[in-house]
């Protein structure tokens, strides 16, 4: 879902002559292409070596941005993470999650 391979292209030519009429979106299933992580000003970073895999971050994340592999945390989807910081706030393990300023496109 985060690979973006099957998502419709949401970039239009910007000229008013070429935009879809009336601000409509003349294709379907476009919510997948809308990467809400673009709003973020700060982001959580994860240290796999410190993580206890209690999954409290996964439970509390409002955007399903905590990625799991079976029963273990494997990372954070920055496509959808809005940088709310709930995961960091709820994390009981010292050093596993920390908020840092997000200065640009995800590494």
């Amino acid at each position: 879902m985060t690979d973006g391979k099957s998502t419709p292209q949401l970039e239009w030519e910007r000229s008013w002559q070429k935009l879809p009429r009336g601000g409509s979106i003349p294709v379907g299933g476009t919510s997948r292409a809308y990467l809400t992580g673009g709003w973020r000003s700060s982001k959580p970073v994860w240290d796999a070596s410190a993580c206890s895999h209690c999954l409290l971050c996964w439970v509390y994340c409002p955007d399903s941005a905590i990625l799991l592999d079976g029963v273990k945390m494997v990372g954070i989807s920055y496509d959808y993470c809005k940088g709310c910081g709930v995961c960091v706030h709820e994390c009981p393990t010292e050093g596993a999650l920390a908020m840092v300023q997000d200065d640009g496109p995800d590494a």
């Binding site: 239009w12 008013w16 935009l19 009429r21 409509s24």
Partner: protein
């Protein structure tokens, strides 16, 4: 070659309801408000009698009425409603939505004052409040024109090169409740004229999924609005084609302006709606008295026919614009402001005066307009040019 027509006596509201039934809308949302009530009541009667298979939605407010037709139109069907006064004001938010989404909704407005104080009679305050919401606006002089405008509106709104909502306006009680003799077309002729609405995009076309109503942020919003301006600017070309087609069908020719004895006029009176009829009688009397006065009826108020207005008036030595609404705090009334802008844009320096009349149903008589017309030349040359004058107000 004109179509099958019948001469019948109808009120403006009945004429409006008949035009609505004959243009076979898929969805109509109705909410009664004086003086429109009779129109929707008559239409509801058609539905109840099985004379119309329209889905009539009886909503609980005008905001809902416009919302319902917006939703219906977005699914790709022909949707209509009608309202008056505070009802139109209550639709305010949804008027922008309808126009912004480029939905070809047709609405009949039976014009009425906006309180307070509460008043149910005619003036154009309601229509003027909606004049920059992105709807085309056509003002009718009488029931015949109300009927004809309502039919042409369907074709104009749904034309693929327009796709804008259209509001047709008739004067509350004056036109809406007066029985007049008019020519109507038979159902088959209207059906053939309005045709079937075939939208290129719609929410119900499952083979081509789409979205109406998505948020459009600063990166695209201004471009979408620019498109809307273009559609408005281009609409008159299509409107003229449809008016031409309607003239071939009925023998009744309509244009954006209806000039009366304007060719050799030294001064002119500009007016909207039913007062044009009174004005034509006044012009005849003025001519008999030796005043070379003409009358310019503005039929298509939005988009405003600025070039045509300037052309029609630029040879005059004085112009008096009659407004049936106030623009509180503005230099002039809405019609006068548009006429002035049109003349200014054409660099035509014509002395202009603005008269406000008929608020809240105050009668406008032939002698009132004769009074305006006979003094126009003198008033324009030496009167206070900036001030709005009031016709028929008790001093």
């Amino acid at each position: 070659m004109t179509a099958q027509s019948e001469r019948v006596a109808l009120t403006g509201n009945e004429a409006g309801a008949l035009a609505m039934r004959q243009s076979r809308p898929d969805v109509v949302a109705g909410y009664p408000i004086t003086p429109q009530t009779e129109l929707m009541q008559q239409f509801a009667q058609y539905v109840a009698d099985g004379a119309s298979d329209t889905e009539l939605i009886l909503v609980e407010s005008e905001h809902s009425a416009m919302s319902a037709v917006v939703g219906a139109a977005a699914t790709g069907v022909r949707a209509m409603t009608a309202t008056s006064a505070n009802g139109l004001a209550f639709m305010w938010e949804m008027l922008f939505i309808a126009a912004g989404y480029r939905l070809p909704i047709v609405m009949q407005l039976v014009s009425r004052s906006l309180g307070g104080p509460l008043n149910i009679h005619c003036d154009h305050s309601d229509a003027m409040g909606a004049r920059e919401t992105g709807w085309l606006q056509f003002f009718a002089e009488n029931a015949q024109e109300a009927y004809d405008n309502a039919l042409m509106a369907v074709r104009i709104a749904e034309h693929p090169e327009v796709l804008l909502p259209v509001m047709t306006v008739q004067d509350g009680f004056i036109t809406s409740h007066t029985t007049q003799v008019l020519e109507t077309l038979d159902d088959e002729t209207v059906s053939a004229f309005v045709g079937t609405y075939r939208p290129t995009d719609s929410l119900s076309n499952l083979a081509k999924p789409m979205t109406y109503g998505a948020i459009v942020l600063p990166d695209y919003y201004m471009e979408v609005k620019r498109q809307q301006v273009e559609a408005m600017d281009e609409a008159p070309r299509i409107v003229a084609l449809i008016e031409e087609e309607y003239a071939d069908l009925t023998g009744r020719r309509y244009e954006s302006l209806d000039p009366y004895r304007m060719d050799d006029a030294e001064s002119a009176i500009v007016v909207l709606g039913s007062a044009a009829g009174t004005g034509k009688d006044a012009v005849d009397l003025l001519r008999e008295q030796g005043h070379a006065v003409g009358l310019l009826k503005v039929r298509r108020f939005r988009p405003f026919p600025a070039e045509e207005v300037a052309q029609a008036l630029s040879h005059c030595s004085a112009v008096g614009v009659l407004d049936r609404s106030l623009a509180l705090g503005a230099p002039w009334g809405p019609l006068a402001s548009d006429v002035a802008s049109s003349l200014m844009r054409a660099r035509a320096n014509v002395p202009m005066l603005n008269y406000v009349y008929g608020l809240g149903g105050r009668d406008i008589t032939v002698s009132d307009i004769v009074g305006v017309g006979s003094g126009l030349m003198q008033d324009a040359s030496d009167g206070p040019k900036a001030a709005v004058r009031y016709v028929g107000v008790h001093e």
